[in-house]
């Protein structure tokens, strides 16, 4: 197994050992693969996800059977929703005892079925090399996603002659890469007739490793861009063609642009309920051109005028080859004027720090190639709405699942994948408490992740829902009793500071950036701040 992983180019594993995975760990100690011990299996999955998103190859996590495997489920579901390639290996009880409800037995391939692209329950040790090869292929190609390999402990222990396959051949799995030539021509014709074309970009751009091609694409076509939450950072946020994030928590400029567009390109975006509020409003007038590697996404949530199935990078290349040039400045000017007219509330606060201004200042102060991991809650929306991303920077968050406690582990994985890049995890005081045990992982393995915790003593996003939709009946959103994050950090041997004013915040940002090794900055924020 280890040799198969090494042949697949695995250099890091995020994991947590246990009885049924002990044989693998026994051999792992002789391997060049670096094992990073997390403090909870869920975070092994998130770290593998963060690793995958930055390295561009599947992240690997290893857990034991039963609770180890079920703890991983949330991370698998998170990766599945956001199309992140992960290969997860779980130990399983002795294959002869399967189905007898023995100690730490859980039907994990069954439980993970809705959240995995594919899964294997290995019964024959001779099949392991082929299965591992296939798992990496399935996870990384087509629409990426998590693949689970469940290996009974006796299968791990049995010796078998090692024969690693050269290639993968799966009859029922041949993702389309190139776009259909006829459809590409239709796209060009439609674009030529369009007055108000718009591109909505999603996380698929990163899956296709197509950021550079995308920039070339939008500049060649001269078409303005909006992005989904997962698409943030596909173009630098200051790019003249970029009009902001769409959706429930997006910018009104971007949402208005969608409803005024006559042709809408969707590229690697699945048009989720949070991204397009009123699909009916869009489809009546707008011709949708949907470019996606997953044919099942096309037409699922919006009626599509031209479907183009394939790899976004390949298809954009095919379109660019025709050298379409679109002369129009009116539409772009119109959107730009509206974008510039928008008031951003970066004013200082009487109580606490303005979180939007903080995010903006923080991202401006970071090196261009920074990796910014946003957790879930109001902090995610403050981050998404105000982060400034320059070329080479990345914004990582959980879009589909909205999994609290994602950021620190994902940032750890991302940092491991790109050691030189400045990596920051931004959480709230709620999500921090779902992941603060991972501070130990950072310390133990010397992973230099900076952490920001927005402290308002509330589960702010739920509080906001209660304020807006339940007559401000605040129920179970007060998290009084929470520890001081800086004291927690210090208990783990991580330095940190708390800031409560704009002035202190600027100083705090400077300290955070200058500090060698992990650092935690707690930012006091009023509990009545709104997300948008």
């Amino acid at each position: 197994m280890i040799e198969s992983l090494e042949r697949e180019g695995v250099t890091h594993i995020f994991g947590y050992p246990g009885a049924t995975i002990a044989p693998l760990y026994d051999r792992l100690s002789d391997s060049k693969i670096r094992h990073i011990l997390v403090r909870h299996e869920q975070h092994a999955g998130h770290a593998a996800g963060g690793y995958a998103r930055i390295s561009g190859k599947p992240g690997v996590c290893v857990v034991t059977s039963g609770p180890g495997a079920t703890n991983l489920l949330t991370a698998l579901a998170t990766a599945y929703m956001d199309s992140i390639p992960i290969v997860a290996i779980s130990g399983q009880v002795n294959s002869e005892l399967l189905g007898r409800d023995v100690f730490q037995e859980a039907d994990i391939t069954g439980a993970a079925e809705p959240f995995t692209k594919y899964s294997y329950l290995v019964k024959d040790e001779k099949e392991l090399p082929r299965i591992i090869k296939e798992a990496f292929h399935i996870a990384a190609t087509g629409r990426p996603g998590p693949v689970l390999i469940d290996v009974p402990v006796d299968v791990q222990l049995r010796e078998a002659a090692f024969k690693f396959p050269q290639s993968v051949s799966i009859r029922g799995y041949k993702p389309t890469i190139q776009g259909h030539a006829g459809q590409i021509k239709r796209v060009l014709r439609t674009l030529a007739q369009s007055q108000h074309p718009l591109i909505c970009v999603g996380g698929g751009i990163f899956a296709a490793k197509a950021q550079d091609v995308f920039l070339n694409f939008i500049e060649t076509l001269n078409v303005p861009v909006v992005s989904t939450l997962m698409g943030i950072g596909a173009v630098p946020t200051s790019h003249p063609l970029y009009m902001g994030q769409v959706g429930m928590h997006g910018k009104s400029t971007a949402n208005d642009a969608i409803s005024e567009a006559d042709v809408l390109f969707l590229i690697g975006a699945r048009v989720s309920d949070r991204a397009v509020l009123l699909p009916d409003k869009v489809k009546r007038r707008t011709k949708i051109i949907h470019i996606d590697i997953d044919p099942a996404e096309i037409g699922k949530n919006l009626d599509t005028f031209i479907p183009v199935v394939g790899d976004a990078k390949a298809i954009m290349g095919q379109i660019i080859d025709y050298k379409p040039d679109r002369k129009d400045d009116e539409w772009i000017q119109f959107l730009t004027d509206r974008k510039n007219a928008r008031n951003v509330d970066y004013a200082d606060r009487a109580e606490g720090v303005n979180p939007k201004a903080f995010v903006h200042k923080l991202s401006k102060a970071l090196p261009d190639s920074f990796i910014y991991c946003a957790d879930v809650g109001q902090n995610q929306l403050w981050s998404a709405g105000n982060v400034e991303i320059r070329r080479g920077g990345r914004f990582l968050t959980t879009g589909g699942m909205g999994t609290m406690g994602y950021a620190i582990a994902a940032a750890a994985g991302a940092k491991v994948a790109a050691d030189g890049r400045f990596t920051v995890a931004v959480c709230g005081d709620g999500s921090f408490q779902m992941s603060m045990m991972e501070l130990a992982t950072l310390v133990q393995h010397g992973i230099d992740v900076k952490i920001v915790v927005m402290v308002n003593g509330k589960l702010g996003l739920v509080r906001e829902i209660q304020t807006d939709s339940y007559e401000d009946n605040q129920m179970a959103v007060d998290i009084t009793g929470s520890p001081d994050p800086v004291a927690i950090a210090k208990a783990y041997g991580i330095d940190g500071d708390t800031v409560s004013t704009a002035e202190e915040a600027e100083d705090g940002i400077r300290k955070l950036i200058a500090h060698e090794g992990p650092y935690l900055l707690a930012v006091r924020v009023s509990d009545s701040e709104s997300s948008l």
């Binding site: 079925e113 329950l121 399935i138 029922g172 044919p295 099942a296 699922k300």
Partner: protein, 161 residues
Amino acid sequence: MKHTIAVLVENKAGVLSRISGLFARRGFNIDSLAVGPTDDPHISRITIIVDGDDYMAEQVTKQLNKLIDVLKVRNLADHEITRRELALVKVKVDESKRGEIVDIAKIMNCEIVDISHTTLMIEFDDRPERVDLLIDLLSKYTILEMARTGTIALQKGHESV
């Protein structure tokens, strides 16, 4: 509207649970599902009858195609296929009713495959609507038990999935 969807899948453990799980998760309504081997021992053929509009049929087809163990999916139009179902029906009989039931069986071209002092077992394979008709006719008597396979279907002529 009913759609007949033929699916060729790898004959592997867990395939059926992946497919039935998909239908449950996505809220697709299955009227019937029939699975059996094909001439290739590695491939099974599943015939699924789903009830829904064209959007749903398209989603079913696309989501099935996404499954790695699925080799081919085809939504078969009613006019291009021959459909069959098999039913076994056990009816309670007494001397006075036996003649009537045997008559029904003869007229419908069924076979009587088991007989006892108090029962008759009727075997019938035909188009699903004919099977419905037989069951309707027999429902006048007491049906003790019945088993019915799902619909299977093949395209007429040279076409194949």
